[in-house]
Subunit: 348 residues, 4 copies
């Protein structure tokens, strides 16, 4: 059994890790930390876990984590970068669900996150945990930077078009809609039900922290810096991300048909168990992946014009966070990639 | 492997059976019928099942079902009573999720359901599938009448009080709130999101079909006809039932304390894996059982007065329908009672 | 024009006062205070008011309020009792939407609200602002204690039964469901959309602050202390309260028919413009009063038994707060009672 | 008083007309037709209108409408084109909220709407009822084709950019999100709360009926055929449209700053009471216009790049339907343009 620790067990990504790991056949959840709830039983805070997790929250410190084989950080940004080095030094693998090691440029990181990066030395070593791009590196990794939720949906949706140089990489548009759980489990006015229920809005239009992450990922694939307009929105539901992606076929693009693009997507992801290319004409509805680790993708070319529209949906807490983290863990531990992740979406 | 057939696979209880059975280790879903969608692949109608269920909907007829070991009816009322006899005659066990065999009095059934009962001969043989009351009979049964969603939440909540004759069985009050999936997957004005979203209402105050079913169940336990006021409500969410139950302690009741009642509930359900008595003072929130087969119960005695308040919550589609049906199947087939039902609630 | 001041303009009752007063033909909103937002324009915080309210938030102090004719307190409990005396001394009328002056017993108030009452001397003078009970006193009042949202719905629903001594006043049951805006505009975990959306729960079962207020009001009418079990619930919507009330007809009750009770309700409220008795058999749906000052009531006698069920619905922010406050203001100022309150519910 | 008739009073646009017209000081609602509910009182079907509308639904026929001065069609497509001619012949003005007269090309209309246009002769006479573009023509009009909801939000958002030739009109992108009331009050599976709640999806990606309407409107302004990619989405709320519009500044565009574009929008709409340009950096949230006739617009230029992002929000049932229709009526009748439309959005 793999002994797992979770630092920051009281956020939504933390409790989602618990939901999935509690039924993972090769994992024992040994430590769950929470400064606020230390001393309480996990099931006391999360009655949905009664009977499944018999652990108490403890204070987050290195010593209580040293008996773990793997430690997940489901913490606010800025925490993992202070503890990762100590854990790695003890031979413990680290999977960070926060943003601390996602950007390769520490200076850029500081600009977007507003704090100094205290552990820039580890950035190079960290593997960006998008298995559909970095599978082999992940298998060898000691430190994983799990992708953000928006970046997961947007990159998986754009990848085949960019890898094949089919669209103009200088004018990508990602219009993305997220459920409110993406904002985390924090007492904030803006995510009260009275504020977000029955309403829809854009936010962070001038620049959201996931912009440099997506740009970095797509630029790596394009082999040059891409130009992306990324507009996130908040939609009145709890879970789910729906990315509507727009790309302009490049001049030679007129020669490729939608059918060919569809085939190209299907081939690109044919061995990916968690990326599902829908048949042409399908609707990609976030409910169809709610609670599951799957990314569903549909491709359109409205009126046969130059604009390709890709719909890419995930559950922000699963493929966009906890599920993807466990997928990484499985790969790092030589387990079947979908162990503990065969969860069917909750419909309706 | 148990070969399972599902008649009426396109309603919410049907698709919920599919979600749970797809991952059940001892079951093969062999036949799924749907008059409307015959010929289509199941995953075409339910993209959430892509990769998990590889069956086409077929027309509902006896011959396509004869190779099954067990057939579930997830049909509107009035269908199971026309097919059950033929299946039983062929040695196939039947689990009916509709109301056809729930009431022991065929005449009463006809009054409430507005159609003639075409198969009264089977009513006596049908076992009411509430395992917490009828486990031994269920194990031997050939035909199961699965309880309704409201009756499950209300009976489990009232049982210990009535079995111990602690409350006046003549003035029971059940104020129950249901998510809209309880109304089924039917094109109806009343359950449009524009009609039910952001609004709360009572309905069926003068008499809901689940009233005689609850009364029958509680009267069996009380040993006499109970008097129940049952008011169902529609609450703007998809899944979940919250029953708020009010009972008046009988005169000798002053001698029993809330602590003693709490113990009594815990003892009554100590071997029941799907009934969870919460610690005193707990909140029973429907989200904590969303997607799971568990009934969570909390008991209160406000201001130490004569009125006992019991909060009983379930997911109407799981413990209130498909999950309970599978629990019955497990019992009938000699399997572990929770096989395929270890599903943790989806929070948030 | 009546010069109005609002203390605490950034809560939901404050902004609802602004929505309604902005279009009130006899009112000028002169002062709106907010410690947090002082200096900002109201429309900056509430873009829905752009073009309707041209005032800046100011610090709450007596001197800025002295030019007002009437001051509304839309503040947390404990604020009005510190300022009311000074305003009254200057001849300014006060309408308190908080709980400070609702209970006639200062000691009881302190027990329920957990702080000392600093202004007990004014309690006797304060008129409980339920026009349907206290209209004449309100017209003469200098200080109004506006009823809470739950107490408004529950009292209006029970009144005719109790005034006519038709039900046993010792075992009243009020099972009440509220939208989340009732919890106020405060950064709190419990009312995040991720916590309250798609879920239903009871809370405060052992004792909610509105219990003594309702008990006081109904006891006044009954002429003796009533016995009430009051269970509040949180329902996943923003606005609306649905009270389901249960009363036991007293022995002589058998002689009164539902039709007679219906007539009795209609007569009791025939001159009340904001209480609407629905025809027999109607559904009282909270959406039908969303945004309006109306209380809709429906009366049932399930199966002709002893239990009378009354459904009483209001918008918690209008008839349960801001609308009722303005109704009081109209009465105090000799205006038409519905001035500024002819607002039709927003459906759908 | 203007005598008004409403054909098709039981859809959401019909009941919204009733909500607004009931309080319009110059209007008497004389006739409301409904095939399904003929004979019933309006308030019976819509309890939110109790006390405000004292009319019975009647069968829709010309003779009952001839005493009206103006008739609104809030009907499914294909009805107005059968009755308009007869009403106009009798001197009655017609405001059609359906799509019958929106497209100037009858053949194109038939292609998108799937039925023959039975009254092509009136198309030329019909004025497209977007006051911000056609005010003077509307004042003289006898027949108004009210814009669709999506077209209203998209056109108002793009107009200043296109009128000033600032963006490339060949690659406009409109990513638009609508609440479910836009789908109408029809018994349909797809808009059940269980289907649309807690989920987000795109639909009609290959071509939505509002595409030719928007294209026609913007092309008129551009002076040439524009190229538009329009992707509508369904968001889990009842009311509201949020259009996120993307335009590429043309080469000379580098010379115009965001500040100048902001000024240009403010000047374009400075005399428009129902178009509100928000200050730079504002969020345009649909709740801020819920129930009101206002379109709020915010303009962004992310990272100072070539892409201009315009956020345009309306209430689909008000500025997107009934409110705009009344605005047209006011203009046609020489009344103040905002008469009956000073309604503040319902927040929260």
């Amino acid at each position: 059994m793999i002994r797992v620790g979770i630092v920051g067990g009281t956020g939504y990504t933390g409790v989602e890790l618990l939901r999935l790991l509690a039924l993972h056949s090769e994992v024992e959840v040994a430590v769950v930390t929470s400064r606020a709830d230390a001393g309480k039983k996990v099931e006391e805070v999360y009655p949905s876990l009664r009977g499944y997790i018999d652990v108490k929250f403890t204070e987050p410190d290195i010593e209580t984590l040293v008996d773990c084989d793997i430690v997940f950080f489901a913490t606010p940004n800025g925490t993992a970068m202070q503890m990762a080095e100590h854990l790695l030094a003890r031979g413990i693998k680290v999977i960070d669900l926060s943003a601390d090691f996602r950007l390769k440029d520490a200076k850029q990181w500081s600009q977007w996150y507003g704090i100094e990066h205290t552990c820039p030395g580890l950035i190079a070593e960290a593997v960006y945990g998008l298995p559909e791009v970095n599978r082999e590196a992940i298998k060898q990794a000691k430190l994983i930077a799990c992708p953000g939720c928006y970046p997961t949906a947007v990159q998986l949706g754009f990848l085949p078009l960019i890898e094949n140089n089919l669209i103009n990489s200088q004018c990508l548009i990602a219009d993305v809609k997220s459920g409110v759980s993406g904002a985390g489990r924090k007492a904030e006015l803006a995510t009260l039900m009275s504020e977000t229920g029955e309403s829809f809005k854009a936010y962070g239009v001038n620049g959201h922290r996931h912009l440099p992450e997506i740009t970095q990922g797509l630029s790596n694939v394009a082999g040059k810096l891409v130009g992306l307009t990324f507009v996130p929105h908040l939609t009145p539901m709890i879970r789910g991300i729906h990315a509507t992606l727009y790309g302009q076929l490049i001049s030679t693009g007129g020669k490729i048909s939608l059918e060919e693009i569809q085939v190209l997507y299907e081939q690109r992801y044919q061995h990916e168990i968690f990326v599902d290319i829908l048949p042409q004409g399908s609707i990609s509805d976030t409910r169809n992946v709610r609670g599951s680790n799957i990314c569903q993708i549909a491709i359109y070319q409205p009126q046969g014009q130059q604009t390709i529209v890709v719909l890419s949906v995930i559950d922000n807490l699963v493929k966009g966070a906890a599920g993807q983290a466990i997928q990484n863990m499985n790969l790092m531990c030589g387990l079947k990639e979908d162990l503990g992740l065969k969860v069917i979406a909750l419909y309706p």
